[in-house]
């Protein structure tokens, strides 16, 4: 099935995040080749111009490199996985804290609520 995309985030960025997750989970590794723009477009059901933007943005961030005539590769730096996982961790925690603060929870409330939730073996 063609993937559904969230309404309020650019699609090129949602595709980048999918690739980050694959790197973090160890499904793709430094040095691996990414699908061509067209292949990726077909797999994800999006316009190739969008995928081109995903690849350019990741290149600007130093996560991939384009080798002329060969395609786009994850850069060969082992730290990349760690950096990405830190980055995504920060984003998720930031969002959690922002949402909780908006509702008026204090820092102590947040820690308490997380501890309770994890102790009860909440959603995996």
């Amino acid at each position: 099935m063609v993937k559904e995309y969230e309404a309020n985030k650019p699609i090129y960025w949602q595709i980048a995040e999918e690739i980050f997750k694959k790197i973090i989970r160890g499904e793709i590794h430094p040095g691996d080749k990414l699908p061509s723009v067209r292949e990726m477009a077909i797999q994800s059901g999006v316009n190739p111009n969008t995928v081109q933007r995903t690849y350019s943005e990741m290149e600007r961030m130093g996560i991939v490199e384009t080798k002329r005539g060969q395609g786009t590769f994850i850069v060969e730096r082992d730290e990349i996985r760690h950096e990405l996982s830190k980055r995504m961790e920060k984003e998720i925690v930031d969002e959690f804290i922002r949402n909780m603060s908006e509702l008026g929870f204090t820092k102590e409330d947040m820690i308490q609520s997380l501890q309770n939730y994890l102790k009860e073996g909440g959603e995996q």
Partner: protein, 238 residues
């Protein structure tokens, strides 16, 4: 600019189908022409393909005013069913090949395979989904500069829609083709589109880049379009 509509109006009797529409399309992009039923989407596509002519204003494709001959560089998928029931799939394809010099038989064969259509099936016995697939095979098999698709999804189940999206992405020539898709089914098509134009009661009420809309306004195309139409309806009432 590959396609230009300059202050185009089209009247049927006393009724305006399009009112003072100015639009431009560039090659290498996929455009969505969005509007409710009867808003003027099909009229716009027919004007570009040279099936009808404007009451006033001009329509140009590659700098030339549109004539009946424009159909030689424009591939047009109509929303209507246009098959001869007594033909087989193969005969329908040969007929198309005989009509259009830019028909690419190799591409047609690939597409038939991708769409799981058999050459010897009779048109009469095709399901609705397979008829829609065959229409798309015919439209995409031409190496035409301009590809116009009128409601390619209408009445089709999600699986057929998916296979149509994939074929579009596989066979559109993004270097050289301009693609315009007219639809009121916005959700599924959104990830495919570069730009969207909203048309309402014969007038263009909005034109945006899809990713900019998300980035700068945090809006999906569907949301943007609904807001525009609602504003317009409120304005009409007051």
């Amino acid at each position: 600019m590959t396609i230009q509509l300059n202050r185009v109006s089209k009247k049927y009797g006393f009724d305006f189908s399009l009112k003072d529409v100015t639009l431009e399309f560039q090659k290498g992009k996929i455009y969505g022409l969005l509007g409710p039923n009867g808003s003027g989407k099909s009229t716009t596509l027919k004007l570009i393909s040279g099936l009808i002519f404007p009451t006033s204003g001009s329509v140009k494709v590659y700098g030339q005013p549109v004539t009946r001959k424009t159909s030689s560089i424009v591939s047009y998928l109509t929303e209507l069913d246009m098959f001869y029931d007594s033909f087989t799939v193969k005969q329908m394809i040969s007929f198309y090949e005989s009509q259009f010099p830019d028909f690419n038989m190799e591409k047609a064969k690939h597409l038939l395979k991708d769409m799981n259509l058999l050459e010897n099936s009779s048109i009469k016995k095709l399901s609705k989904g397979n008829r829609a697939r065959l229409k798309l095979v015919l439209a995409l098999s031409r190496d035409a500069k301009v590809l116009l698709l009128d409601e390619p999804f209408s009445g089709l189940d999600p699986l057929v829609r998916d296979s149509i999206v994939k074929s579009l992405l596989s066979y559109i020539d993004f270097e050289d083709q301009t693609v315009i898709i007219a639809t009121h089914e916005i959700d599924e098509l959104e990830p495919l589109l570069d730009e969207v134009m909203a048309i309402y009661q014969g007038s263009i009420i909005g034109h945006e880049n899809v990713e900019k809309l998300r980035e700068e306004q945090g809006l999906s195309v569907l949301h943007w379009f609904k807001t525009l139409v609602l504003d317009q309806e409120i304005r009409n009432r007051s």
